[in-house]
């Protein structure tokens, strides 16, 4: 019922764009608060429809999957949570999907963060992953199957120092357990004891710093999940082989959920993303049609100087 009403409302709202086009061509553009209303409806109405559109998987996401599926049970994966709550709609679904996969396939997860909010975002991702029945049945233990080392300030200097010794930067984990008392960290001295790095990043410090120091100096194998703002900037690293795969933005998160066969938030949000993009594209087209028609009208009405 709600989905039907939302669909009808969407069509009606879409048709009112014709009125916006008319007004803009006439030289009376709509007030910006009207534009805000369209943006709001373009997100609210599709969320009420609760439809997950079909989504092709791109090569960048497949590369991430191809690299993590070869990890053997017991492999140690370092997850760097380098983002804060505003980036959570894009990155949290990726993190949850990855955690579920890691826990189901007996990968050992070592969490850390270069952002102060990172460890708490990681904690929420682990809590959500633990709700999965298959993961819950494994009865995973913190300190044995996964550990949250917490946050350390210093940006790239933290990664630099971890190249020598993890313990120097993380003398205790986030639960205040001393490093030497954590069973999972028993034989983990530095990056040479890590099989893979999965970085979730929304800015600086983040993927760029991990590539510059973790990959190019210490030779770690790494993939990255980035916000859509950062993703275009890290494509050169993917192309150069410094990154093994990229998950870009919410669509990347939705593709990752699909390829891992883990239903999550990103797939549900994708329809709203589509409608939001359609609205922005519609406004760009409306603005440009009015611009070109207005320009031609000026050429006709302005006397030609010979």
């Amino acid at each position: 019922m709600m989905a039907t009403m939302a669909t009808i409302a969407t069509v009606v709202v879409g048709l009112t764009l014709i009125y916006v086009l008319y007004r803009t061509i006439k030289g009376r553009p709509v007030e910006r608060r009207i534009v805000f209303v369209y943006i709001a409806f373009s997100v609210i109405l599709p969320l009420m429809m609760q439809i997950s559109p079909p989504l092709p998987i791109t090569g960048d996401v497949l590369k991430v999957y191809d690299n993590i599926k070869v990890l053997q049970p017991g492999s140690k994966v370092l997850c760097a949570f380098d983002y804060d709550p505003p980036s959570a709609p894009e990155l949290q679904p990726m993190a949850v999907a990855f955690m579920k996969y890691a826990f189901k396939h007996d990968l050992k997860v070592i969490i850390m963060g270069l952002w102060p909010q990172g460890p708490q975002q990681a904690q929420m991702a682990v809590e959500e992953a633990m709700l999965d029945p298959e993961v819950a049945a494994k009865n995973l233990q913190e300190g044995i199957d996964w550990v949250n080392l917490g946050f350390q300030s210093g940006n790239e200097f933290v990664i630099q120092s971890m190249g020598s010794e993890f313990k120097r930067m993380f003398p205790k984990d986030d639960r205040l357990v001393p490093y030497d008392s954590i069973p999972l960290m028993k034989n983990v001295v530095n990056f040479s004891n890590i099989d893979y790095v999965m970085n979730f990043s929304s800015g600086k410090p983040g993927t760029v710093e991990w590539v510059q120091i973790g990959v190019d100096r210490f030779g770690v194998k790494m993939s990255a999940g980035n916000t859509a703002v950062q993703a275009p900037m890290v494509y050169p690293y993917l192309r150069a082989g410094q990154l093994l795969g990229i998950l870009g933005g919410m669509s990347g998160a939705a593709e990752f959920e699909k390829v891992l066969d883990e239903e999550g938030d990103a797939s549900t949000f994708l329809l709203a993303q589509m409608f939001a993009h359609a609205t922005v594209i519609a406004f760009i087209i409306i603005g440009n049609i009015a611009f070109f028609i207005g320009g031609r009208r000026k050429k006709i009405t302005t006397p030609q100087v010979k």
Partner: protein, 213 residues
């Protein structure tokens, strides 16, 4: 407490969004809370995760103290002199240390990662081949596009020579590649901004109002 927390979060969210209608005291109040809570959050986290866990437990209360860390603590305390105008000049010492350390590290890592490795990737293996040695024509076209784009883009950024003739044409082609880059970035930026809003609407509609699952 969880329900109370959801209501607090929802009211704060609506308070911020009230700015979209017009600037008002409710928005100013929520903005002030945002500034205060953010600053307090960062201060608490940095205190316990760094000053306490690293310095205090590493150098002062440890059974095996690392006395070198006192140097960092001294520099950090000198930084706080910036709050007092008469002795604020002392804060230049720790600032100089941070700037110097960053400059030294960046000088090398930016060269290796962003210059050397990127240049190597651009000019090597232009002809793409599969495992059997056969040429992959579409991939080769792609690597040529990258080569032309990088070279012409760098030509555009070279301002020591006037952009005329062949050089000028190359610079113009460079701007075309840069415009495509910026257009792609714009498209992704729209995706990112909309994702932030989708996240908030999902919270309001599912966690707060229970309109959707």
């Amino acid at each position: 407490m969880e329900l109370f927390g959801i209501w607090i979060a929802a009211l704060l969210t609506l308070g911020i969004y009230s700015f979209l209608y017009k600037d008002n005291p409710v928005y100013k109040a929520t903005e002030a809370i945002f500034v205060g809570v953010s600053a307090g959050y960062w201060a608490v986290v940095y205190y316990f995760d760094n000053i306490y866990k690293k310095f205090w437990e590493g150098a002062v209360t440890s059974d095996n103290p690392d006395y070198w860390m006192y140097g960092g603590a001294v520099l950090g305390l000198l930084f706080l002199t910036r709050l007092f105008p008469k002795i604020g000049w002392i804060s230049r010492w720790p600032l100089a240390f941070i700037v110097g350390a960053t400059a030294g590290l960046y000088m090398v890592i930016y060269f290796v990662t962003n210059a050397m490795n990127q240049t190597a990737s651009t000019i090597m293996d232009i002809v793409a081949r599969n495992a059997a040695g056969e040429i992959l024509w579409m991939d080769t076209l792609g690597t040529l596009v990258i080569l032309v784009g990088v070279v012409t883009g760098l030509v555009y950024f070279f301002f020591s020579k006037e952009h005329k003739g062949v050089f000028g044409t190359a610079a113009k082609v460079g701007t075309w590649f840069l415009m495509i880059t910026f257009g792609a970035s714009f498209g992704y930026t729209v995706m990112s901004r909309m994702s932030l809003f989708i996240g908030r609407m999902d919270f309001l509609m599912s966690d707060w109002l229970h309109i959707i699952k």
